[in-house]
Amino acid sequence: MPIVVEKLNHAYMEGSTLAHDALKDVTLTIGDGEFLGLIGHTGSGKSTFVQHLNGLLQPTSGSVTVDGFDMADKKQRVQGRRLVGMVFQYPEYQLFEETVAKDVAFGVKNMGVPEAEAMARADEAMALVGLAPERFRDKSPFELSGGEKRRAALAGIIVMRPKYLVLDEPMAGLDPLGRRDILDTIDHLRATLGCAVVMVSHSMDDMADRAERVAVLSAGTLLRVGSTAEIFGDAKFLLENGLDVPQVSRLALALRARGVALPETIYAMDEMELALCNLLGKGAEI
């Protein structure tokens, strides 16, 4: 069963002079096991939207249903929330326990899992995100490096075995290698756990590389949802809406502007490679 978001509206500081509509009539369905990317300008409502998936915010109007559980209902919300693992931006700042293992186990312990089993699951989760349990288990989370902290925080979410993994800018503040590492970890988690992934990111390259479907938010409204090829194949649409395009698209645009006959929909490296080889094979001048 999917997450169904229907006509979701959210206003911050309702009723005051500072009221602000952060989401307007957003309707979207997130299917089992899919990888949905969420892009949009800063302030477009991405973080607001993903917090609704976990019932951390309540709709001003409209509804969010996670596998049939209505997130507006207090009892159903508790059950729905267990299905959705939410990783906030800079999740490393939520670490608090004495040891990494204890911190990772926090979520499952809250679910009522007995201590021994919780610790076993913590080990498992740490291994999944690439933190060797025997090395990191008894370390203080505050002794870890930035990247390791982020992994530990990620482990703290997936230890609950969510059916949907929601990540709000999981790569913010990491270097290219660290970004790649986290992305690979996310792919690995999806493959081993079979969970759906909803990822917010400002990096179009990462999005184009990993997402299967992309939703574009602009000033609180859902501008467009489509397959990754459909959205990123339409560089004009992205640029018109003030969004960035993947680097390959930018290169393709620049080449086309100089008269190189490349198709308009190129956004991925392998496509570019293929197209260029084709052109060269035909003996075109570049």
Partner: protein, 267 residues
């Protein structure tokens, strides 16, 4: 969480907003003293009129003033009933089993409630029209003469300014951390008081760590800009009394004079 604000400043550019913060601060202190000298309910009419006039001049919506009473609504009700039931002077008005309500009780209950309402309305009016930073400035300026006695006026003001600056930041941060822990199944709403206190640990530890980190960073930033305390520091906004401050003082003195006169003649 976000609704908690300390200063409840209502932005504006009215004559009251433009008064020197020192005038408003001292005025508020004097106002509190005056209110405590009022002996009769009827005399409250004078400070009430004064507050109404200031509210009108400041163009603060009445709803804001009423809202500032909200935090003490239970105290108001409590004080009202305590006085109503406990004060036993004058004629008996109503009796039911052990509950006796007397004329004196009703009078005292209304008197105390009015006094509290007027006190809060007056002080709120000041915080509504003065930014916390301006107030800190005023406090520093007013306390500077005590510096000769070793009183750290500047340091105190700087501490207050920094604290004020970081309150919204920390609230925002607490909000974020609470959400993150809620996403991990933390429950802040159920259980008895001990359980609830314990459930705050996952919020307080990261919050303290980040507060210390911020304090460290701020200290570094201040030092790297050669901050070395108050000695020889000039200010960007120099406080100056203007004619309107004299006018405000005169209006206040007039009200006080009338209260003294009315109480001396009729009460």
């Amino acid at each position: 969480m976000r609704d908690i604000t300390l200063g409840q400043y209502f932005p504006g550019n009215s004559p009251i907003h433009r008064l020197d913060p020192r005038t408003k601060l001292l005025g508020m202190l004097a106002y509190i003293i005056v209110i405590f000298f009022v002996k009769k309910i009827t005399v409250f009419l004078l400070p009430a009129l004064f507050v109404a006039m200031v509210t009108y001049l400041a163009r603060v919506p009445l709803s804001y003033l009423v809202r500032s009473l909200k935090p003490i609504r239970f105290l108001l009700v409590f004080m009202f009933f305590i006085n109503l039931f406990m004060v036993k002077t004058g004629d008996l008005i109503w009796e039911w089993r052990f509950i006796q309500i007397t004329e004196g009780g009703v009078y005292q209950a209304v008197y105390i409630t009015l006094r509290l309402v007027l006190l809060l309305a007056g002080t709120s009016l000041m915080t509504l029209t003065t930014t916390p930073i301006a107030l800190t400035d005023a406090l520093e300026k007013l306390l500077t003469p005590f510096g000769k006695l070793g009183f750290p006026a500047h340091e105190l003001a700087m501490m207050m300014t920094i604290a004020l600056r970081f309150i919204p930041t920390l609230i925002e941060e607490a909000d974020k951390i609470m959400k993150a822990q809620m996403a991990r199944g933390a429950d802040f709403e159920s259980g008895n008081i001990f359980r609830r206190a314990k459930s705050m640990i996952p919020v307080l530890v990261p919050l303290f760590i980040s507060a210390f980190r911020r304090a460290d960073e701020l200290a570094m930033a201040m030092e790297s800009r050669c901050y070395h305390g108050g000695k020889g520091r000039t200010r960007m906004h120099v406080l100056r009394f203007a004619p309107r401050d004299a006018a405000a003082a005169a209006a206040f003195a007039a009200m006080t004079g009338m209260i003294v006169l009315v109480q001396a003649l009729w009460v």
